[in-house]
């Protein structure tokens, strides 16, 4: 019987901080090769189409960016929540509300155009997301209601509300009775970065700017100190004169606003209309991205791109080798486990101990 034993390092290992993603990647390659071999697919071409093929063409890189944009935006906001110990798992709902509120202008005031339209839409999207995130924050601070439940339940409510809107009052009158709003006019569409090469839109710029701002805020401002202090020790925060209630609002509003921005960015940039569903679960996947990026905004950018790659790679492998979608998902799960597991090396040394020896050691 072999037991895993962790020994805390005196301080974070800078070496493993940098190295652990690579170790994880190597392990994933090995395990992946075994997995593909087991299901009777050639391992090397499968790994190639999974990790490299999506990056070999410019248009595909654009698609990677499109997929990563909402994940990064949401996860950056969530990092503030999680560092400050506010368990917002309802970013999906805030994303949807951002999409709805941001779409109000192009749908309800179709004649309104001009250079102000897009900025207004983005701001309204942020307000929508923040307002929806304010509900769990308010219930938490005022009524002591657990935010895990409220934020999660509000996701379903938001989904149904959007469904109702897209099939009812917001439905395109010329859409032959099908759900979905009018298609946004060009002035209401986020411009593409390099239209001749692919579809990536301005959203990625928002995502990177958001990551940098939050990174700077967390690292070098008093507010950032407050976020971290309240997160690690609410008591110490109280002694320092910080209010946990205000922090709950700050964290929820920040992450709600960013999720909302992601929502309207997706609607205005990638989709082009308000549909009855606008997210294949970005709000939940972003939670993984946030932790994969170790709650560090810069790390989150990298994590978002990696996770997006696993989606694109899964498709490429399906097309070129007929690897089933389920295998792609199992592989994605494996990769995440390896990455998470290897991060342990940053804080701990791992020792494998034979049980007999271990108990002998304990006795002595």
């Amino acid at each position: 019987m072999i037991r895993v034993e962790l020994i805390r390092r005196p301080q974070q290992s800078a070496l493993f901080s940098a190295l652990s993603p690579f170790i994880a990647f190597a392990l994933t390659l090995i395990a992946g090769a075994i997995l593909f071999w087991l299901i009777g697919k050639p391992p090397l071409p499968a790994l190639y189409s999974y990790f490299i093929e999506p990056l070999t063409e410019i248009w595909s890189v654009h698609e990677l960016i499109i997929k990563a944009t909402p994940l990064i935006l949401i996860a950056v906001g969530l990092s503030v929540c999680y560092i400050s110990n506010n368990w917002n798992i309802g970013a999906e709902g805030q994303f949807i509300f951002g999409g709805i509120v941001g779409s109000l202008l192009p749908i309800l005031v179709p004649g309104f155009g001009g250079p102000l339209l897009l900025p207004l839409m983005m701001i309204m999207g942020m307000i929508g997301g923040a307002a929806y995130a304010a509900i769990p924050a308010f219930l938490k601070t005022r009524f002591n209601t657990n935010e895990i439940l409220t934020s999660l339940m509000l996701v379903y409510v938001a989904q149904l509300f959007l469904d109702w809107l897209a099939r009812g009052v917001f439905r395109d009158p010329n859409g032959s009775g099908f759900p979905g709003s009018i298609r946004f006019p060009a002035v209401a569409r986020l411009p593409e970065i390099a239209p001749s090469q692919g579809g990536a839109h301005l959203g990625i710029v928002f995502a990177i700017v958001a990551a940098l701002v939050v990174w700077f805020m967390l690292r070098s401002t008093l507010k950032g100190f407050e976020v971290r202090l309240i997160g690690t020790s609410p008591r110490a925060g109280r002694f320092a004169g910080f209010s946990a209630s205000k922090m709950a609002f700050f964290a929820f509003l920040t992450s709600g606003a960013l999720a909302g921005l992601a929502g309207i960015t997706e609607v205005s940039g990638a989709i082009g209309q308000l549909r009855e569903t606008i997210s294949p679960g970005y709000g939940f996947t972003a939670i993984i991205v946030a932790f994969l990026g170790r709650l560090n905004p810069i790390g989150i950018v990298a994590a978002g791109l990696v996770l997006a790659l696993t989606y694109l790679g899964g498709e490429a492998a399906q097309i070129s080798l007929g690897v089933s979608d389920k295998v792609a998902r199992v592989f994605q799960g494996m990769l995440l486990f390896f990455v998470l597991g290897c991060d342990t090396l940053i804080h701990y040394r791992i020792r494998l101990v034979r049980r007999a020896i271990a108990s002998a050691l304990e006795k002595s």
Binding site: P42, P45, Y48, E63, I66, S176, T277, A316, I319
Partner: protein
């Protein structure tokens, strides 16, 4: 490390390239919204794809992507297909409409077929199935078989297709029992077996003795079997789930259509811009054997099926009033296809309200 990775990558690239050059079959590709084994809509399309492989054999190679969400993901998936050498791409969900058109514009040499949509282009056609013909037949059977005169309808989402189905069913039922009533429950999902079962139970508890559904799973059929009432199969023959309950089933049989269109694409006779809406006559849908009913009802059903197939009978023939009592179709008037495809109103007698 870096060199090793690069070396590995180029080695892999060579392997992939050689394996790809070996094939020059015609490639037909399919994009699915759900898992290919969802027991409903998507599975029916995948069975159609398998039918293609069976019929056209060596001449064709098929590929599919499943679980592709509508929105940007679908556009990417379609584009990846277009770039990977697909000659014809079938996009099998309404929500793929705009992405299909966007990719089609970029790849004028690839042929696209979009299911259930209404927009076409020089290299995009649409195709659909006249499910309402089947709905009308099962409505008539329900009108004859129901003792309480009330049927339950488990509906997914209020889109024209579903509304058309509800109307077709009720018109069929009322053609044999003018007082027939219909209770509608929207479950707001295509596939959640548990919820569909709950809806079936709720409807039965409220006195319906026949269940029909426009959702994917066989759960309502199982409940009908358990409670000793009748039901109609959806998308497939579900006789296994309800040996005593199933009266018949509306079966989606896309296979022949796919074979026809892929053959046309290979022969060079495929034409874009068309909107195809086949029915029982063309074999894009079929009725499962009529079971668990007296001979006279069976004869009536077979007769109705034959009349619809021959074109003698159109389910949406006047006089038909809308739900609010206003006239929709005058005596003898037949609805045009456009109104049916965009149907957003109920006919008289439906006990439900549509979101407006």
């Amino acid at each position: 490390m870096k060199k090793l990775v690069l070396g590995l990558a180029s080695a892999l690239a060579i392997m992939v390239a050689t394996s790809a050059s070996a094939q020059d079959k015609y490639k037909a590709c399919f994009i699915y919204l759900g898992p290919k084994t969802d027991g409903g809509w998507t599975q029916a399309h995948d069975i159609g794809r398998q039918y293609v492989e069976e019929k056209l054999g060596d001449k064709v190679e098929t590929a599919y992507l499943e679980n592709v969400p509508e929105g940007p993901d679908s556009q990417r998936a379609i584009e990846r297909f277009a770039r990977s050498g697909c000659g014809i791409i079938f996009t099998t969900s309404f929500g793929y409409m705009d992405p299909t058109l966007a990719v089609a514009e970029k790849f004028p040499d690839v042929k696209f077929e979009h299911a259930t949509g209404f927009k076409t282009a020089p290299n995009v056609t649409t195709y659909n199935s006249r499910f309402y013909q089947g709905r009308y037949i099962i409505g008539k059977i329900a009108g004859k078989m129901s003792k309480t005169g009330v049927a339950g309808y488990i509906a997914s989402f209020p889109i024209p297709e579903v509304v058309m189905g509800i109307n077709g069913f009720l018109l069929g039922a009322r053609s044999v029992n003018p007082d027939f009533k219909l209770k509608v429950v929207w479950v707001n999902t295509w596939h959640d077996a548990g919820k569909e079962a709950d809806a079936a139970k709720a409807l039965i508890d409220q006195g319906v003795d026949i269940i029909t559904q426009h959702t994917d799973s066989a759960a309502p059929m199982q409940i009908a079997e358990e409670r000793g009432i009748h039901a109609f199969g959806q998308a497939f023959d579900q006789i296994e789930a309800g040996p005593n309950a199933q009266l018949t089933a509306i079966m989606d049989t896309w296979g022949p259509y796919y074979v026809k269109k892929i053959q046309a694409a290979m022969d060079g006779t495929w034409k874009g811009g068309e909107q195809s809406w086949d029915g029982l006559a063309e074999g894009i849908l079929a009725m499962a054997p009529y079971t668990n009913m007296p001979d006279d009802v069976k004869a009536m059903a077979e007769d109705t099926e034959a009349k619809i197939e021959s074109g003698e009978l159109h389910p949406f023939t006047g006089p038909v009033n809308k739900q609010d009592g206003t006239v929709w179709l005058k005596e003898g008037e037949v609805s045009d296809d456009g109104t049916l495809l965009g149907m957003d109103f109920y006919v008289e007698g439906v006990d439900d309200k549509l979101p407006q």
